[in-house]
């Protein structure tokens, strides 16, 4: 039996990987890739949230927003710290990487339009994070990550509940109902895109084979839908999905994947798309990608400049 097959079999049987000595090259690469996506996603969630931070309706909601952003930065720190232990040069990763090479979701390359979108961001995107990281906590074969996720998952739950409260409260205000619906209309499919390419289009997944995660993309998408749809229905927000009794799963009422108009933040439902094109769109990045990454890197670069001048 070759080394890769042996390791795959071991982790499938519950073996917990604790360090580089336990891994092969393929495991290490898949793990680094996964943690980079996780770290980038946590960190780059902050710039969009900051765009509407000053619109928080009360002082306490401002404190909540700050606590959430602080959590996200803390989660990013955990992911990057794990990468550092795996031999990555984290300073380079953070401060010298070009904007388009960051791995955060496309949905984070946008400014938010109002406080309601802050809520839907929490309720939908943090729910996606909670779904993905909850699965990792349950199934991952990488011990140090699993232990770190206890705290992360609890905090993500707090974020998504905050989102639900903002949405539920806004739905009781006739003036804000429309804003909730408008936010949901663009953010719902965005959240579904977090889970990536459909299972039938994927030949294999190192993440699954090495048990970095446990559920497939489509299974995770279903899990997200199974809580997001009933929640939205309970507060009277329309969503383009419903539970199909016959198929025993959630099905979408609109084309997915689908073309998106980034300027107007609108899905073009008359233009169904392919996953290949979606990946292309992800790689082209959204409108604020450069600005947001520059914001993360600005302080480090300015300090570096100052050091040079001082010598």
């Amino acid at each position: 039996m070759d080394q890769a097959t042996l390791l795959k079999e071991k982790v499938q049987n519950g073996f917990i990987v604790e360090g580089i000595d336990d891994m092969n090259e393929e495991y290490l690469n898949a793990l680094k890739q996964t943690l980079t996506i996780v770290g980038d996603t946590e960190l780059l969630s902050v710039p969009p949230l900051l765009t509407v931070y000053d619109q928080a309706p009360t002082l306490n909601s401002k404190i909540t927003a700050l606590a959430i952003m602080q959590d996200e930065i803390g989660h990013a720190h955990i992911a990057y710290r794990l990468l550092k232990d795996l031999g990555e040069d984290v300073d380079r990763l953070l401060y010298e990487r070009e904007a388009h090479r960051w791995k955060n979701p496309y949905a984070f390359d946008f400014e938010l339009s109002n406080w309601i979108e802050f809520g839907v961001f929490n309720a939908f995107f943090d729910r996606a994070g909670y779904t993905l990281l909850g699965d990792a906590f349950e199934h991952t074969s990488y011990g140090p990550w699993k232990r770190a996720l206890v705290k992360v998952d609890k905090e993500e739950l707090f974020h998504l509940r905050n989102g639900e409260i903002i949405m539920r409260t806004a739905m009781q205000d006739p003036n804000l109902r429309e804003e909730v619906q408008k936010a949901v209309d663009w953010m719902f499919l965005m959240a579904l895109e977090f889970f990536g390419v459909e299972d039938r289009l994927k030949s294999r997944s190192a993440q699954l084979e090495y048990r970095l995660k446990g559920r497939t993309n489509d299974e995770l998408r279903q899990k997200w839908l199974s809580t997001a749809v009933p929640f939205c229905e309970s507060i009277g927000v329309k969503v383009p999905a419903h539970y199909d009794e016959e198929q025993q799963k959630y099905v979408l009422d609109v084309p997915f994947p689908c073309k998106f108009d980034p300027v107007n933040k609108k899905w073009l439902f008359d233009q169904p798309d392919t996953w290949d094109n979606v990946i292309k769109r992800f790689k082209q990045r959204g409108p604020k990608n450069k600005e947001f990454v520059e914001r993360i890197q600005r302080g480090a670069k300015e300090l570096e400049q100052l050091r040079k001048e001082a010598v």
């Binding site: 905090e155 509940r161 905050n162 409260i165």
Partner: protein, 108 residues
């Protein structure tokens, strides 16, 4: 403090369903509730938070209010937040401690 009587006991039980925003521990087991008093059809809840900078005060209060209003004969809920005596981990119930232990959080 914590003066429970047969009249208000059911409200303490009801608040065991109101959870901390992060951990599945109720506000009662967290030791946040100091006193519940019923005056006619109105409830007066005296409570505290773990910190003055608690980011979730408004929503915890809303959750408490919503839950208590479901009780028969409760027309209104008044929440009085106090900082004296201050909350310490000693106020967490044995049940709460067990749950925190399960989640790997120290409560001492």
């Amino acid at each position: 403090m914590d003066k429970r009587n047969t009249e208000t006991e059911k409200y303490w039980q009801a608040l065991k369903e109101v959870m901390d925003p992060e951990f599945p521990i109720s506000v009662v087991d967290m030791g946040l509730i100091y006193h519940i008093e019923k005056v006619d059809e109105e409830l007066h809840v005296t409570m505290t938070y773990t910190a003055v900078s608690c980011a979730c005060m408004e929503w915890i209060e809303q959750d408490i209010r919503d839950r208590l209003l479901k009780e028969k004969g409760v027309r209104d809920v008044h929440i009085h937040v106090v900082w004296d005596p201050p909350w310490t981990v000693d106020r967490i119930s044995p049940e709460g401690r067990e749950k925190l232990k399960y989640w790997g959080v120290s409560s001492t």
